[in-house]
Symmetry: C2
Subunit: 441 residues, 2 copies
């Protein structure tokens, strides 16, 4: 036989069980998004190359998958590229369709993206993103709702999480008051490592990154902030007394924590001054969600941006959004064994038969059961019983209805519970009752 | 302002209403596929170019979108291409994963495909296909179940359809008995036009295509076949008496019509000897479904193939499959105004407020309602009432809950029915009851 065919490296096939599990994640997330009035959009896999170029930095440009032109233009520079994320196409969408959109625009989008990254464990060249954003409003109700969405999604999935919250204005304020306003990203990158490498090493790194000793010293009280959220905010307010931006950040955090309290959010939320997030378009709140019972890093993240659509000529549109990492959530649910067991088989009953007449009998029963909403398969040939049972085993179908001459004569089937091995003759009505009870369990 | 950004020609953005409607189609189809035990798989957007090349004829090769190699290999011939249909990736999947698959393998797949076709009305460079196949069994129960699926999908969608059924073996038999066994495709292409151009013109075309006068004369009784399915089959059996292949085709049709009768299929089914279908990998039953109340051509089609995976080195695996044309189904549902009205707005209630305190009050109510499964939005700022009402109008939200000081004092909201203009003060419990009743209506 010829060599087995394969797929490009960094891409994946998803079989039935993986798809059932992925759909469980997507459907859970979509259900929660919808409950808050977010609506789905989709954009094309290909964008004009000009839409994508220069939006992800120099490194990002290199990682774009470009589509070769067809026909005589094949030799020219590609005009199209594959979607690299959902954020830039969303910004493009908002600008292109701004006349049709009612703002605030609450949208979600669940689609694959492609990156010509070096494939490695957990990093793929094709993967799905699940983004939810509200754009066209400055209100912190946006932040609140995203936090409520995080709470509800992970409650439904059964994953214990902690949401880390910070504000870019606070980070900018800190850089300002320690006299290094242009070093905000350097400072945040360094203090991001506090947990891992300790204060001494962080200070050494800050010095390497060009911060003066005075600035580093001024930063120490902030690195050592502890206590409750209120205590941290009070202490910060003193530190940032001379930074207008910083105080605005504190105010936003206070308002947001107020809304969180008013609406009784039970989610684990930590004010984390070491949270920075790399993307430099964030301008207000930033979030990151970590699973508490798995070592996997962030599984959801996002923040407030003030000028996402500016790159396409529509300035001053503020928005806030988060992205759920479906692959990582999949890994957490697998590691913690949290996928519902019923995802393993969609089919509730397989009919197994001994002859053509029995097959017709089974097809009639199958029709009647499907009309009641029961998922049924009929093994398509009256072949060896072992083969038919093997099929049920492989697909983890919980019940097999065996049809022989005896059963037909009595208007019954022999129903076998594949887990217990137990079997008994049942009528159509009884079979339907058993399956309906299993469905609603 | 800069020029409005755009998307590549032949591609589309889908806004919220379009997405809700597309999801309605996909969810309906998926629900029916699942009821019959078909399970979803997904394959990558990119396939190795060798997997795709030569599978769609010379014309097809030209229509493949090729991905430029990255880095130093950029100048070389592309190694990857975008999926052109779901059939070839499915065949590749079956061969690649044959050790993990339990046959008969019942799978469905709903994903976009890409073709570098000249864009025109109703023809896109990116569009979704919805394919359902059972592979690894010769049993005509496969054909029966696909027919039952067609029946149930269109019953749920409310579209009146007729399924045209034919069998490639019958067509081959006809070509054989009229003495032109190598002309099967020419004959079918010509007689496919019988309805449009009449017998005379068809005969002229057959002559042009190289059929002898004797062959054309021998074909006439078949062109004139009429009556019930049983009458047609009986007449055909006489005509095809000397063709083993033809008689096998008749037998398959008879068995299938027998199964259709046994299981009480109510679908409009017509034995259509003029149905040919272009793809030359079909070897048995062929189907095409037409909407009766819309002029749009085929909205679903497929057939039996005996050697789909042979191209990847796994011969003799028989299967049968059909494909639902989502774009055309969308057009039919639009033309006949059959989309459910509730798809226009997912949101049931919008809270509109006059001040910060009212906003907090609304956020608490919203939380309580969402816990009951009611889809609620809170307008994020206590701005002008006209603006908030305009938002509800634009999103076609049926109810607005207005919160002012009066309402707060009484622990109520003013609920406005946006269709009738009617408004009354209601408690949280009353609001919940009203919305729950609307949901279950």
């Amino acid at each position: 036989m010829a060599q087995k065919p394969s797929i490009p490296k960094g891409t994946r096939d998803f079989g039935q069980l993986e798809m059932a599990r992925r759909n469980y994640i997507f459907d859970t997330i979509k259900g929660v998004f919808s409950l808050f009035g977010f609506q789905q959009i989709e954009t094309p896999a290909m964008e004009n190359i000009g839409t994508l170029m220069g939006k992800y930095g120099e490194e990002g440009d290199k990682l774009l998958f470009r589509i070769q032109n067809s026909g005589e233009k094949a030799a020219l520079a590609p005009e199209k590229g594959l979607r690299y994320d959902l954020t830039v196409p969303f910004a493009r969408y908002v600008v292109q369709h701004r006349e049709e959109i009612s703002f605030p625009f609450k949208r979600f989008q669940i689609q694959p993206v492609w990156r010509a990254d070096r494939p490695q464990k957990g990093r793929y060249r094709e993967f799905y993103q699940c983004d939810v954003d509200v754009i066209g409003s400055n209100s912190l109700v946006g932040e609140l709702e995203l936090i409520q969405i995080v709470e509800e999604v992970y409650r439904r999935l059964g994953i214990n999480v902690c949401l880390h919250l910070n504000n870019r204005k606070v980070l900018a304020g800190i850089a300002e008051v320690i006299g290094a306003p242009d070093k905000m990203m350097d400072i945040t990158v360094a203090i991001d490592k506090l947990d891992k490498i300790g204060v001494e090493a962080v200070n050494a790194e800050l010095s390497e990154r060009g911060l003066s000793n005075e600035a580093i010293e001024a930063l120490q009280p902030i690195l050592n902030l502890s206590g409750s959220t209120t205590e941290k905010l009070t202490a910060l307010r003193d530190v940032l007394a001379n930074s207008e931006t910083g105080l605005k950040g504190i105010e936003e955090l206070e308002t947001l924590f107020g809304l969180i309290e008013v609406t009784g959010v039970k989610l684990n939320i930590e004010l984390d001054l070491c949270l920075a997030r790399g993307l430099n378009y964030y301008t207000g709140a930033i979030f990151e969600v970590k699973a508490l019972d798995a070592q996997i890093g962030s599984i959801t993240g996002g923040g407030r941006y003030d000028n996402l659509t500016g790159i396409f000529g529509l300035p001053d549109v503020s928005g806030v959004g988060i992205s759920f990492g479906a692959d990582r959530i999949y890994d957490v649910l697998t590691e913690l064994d949290l996928f519902p067991k019923e995802l393993q088989s969609a089919t509730q009953v397989l009919f197994a038969t001994f002859g053509e007449e029995e097959l017709c009998y089974a097809l009639k029963w199958a029709k009647a059961l499907r009309e009641k909403g029961i998922t049924v398969e009929v093994y398509p040939e009256p072949t060896k019983m072992k083969k038919q049972m093997g099929y049920a085993d492989a697909k983890q179908i919980p019940f097999v209805a065996i049809v022989g001459g005896d059963e037909m004569a009595q208007n019954k089937v022999m129903l076998k519970n594949m887990a217990s091995g137990e079997q008994k003759q049942v009528t159509l009505e009884e079979l339907w009752q058993i399956q309906t009870n299993n469905l609603t369990k």
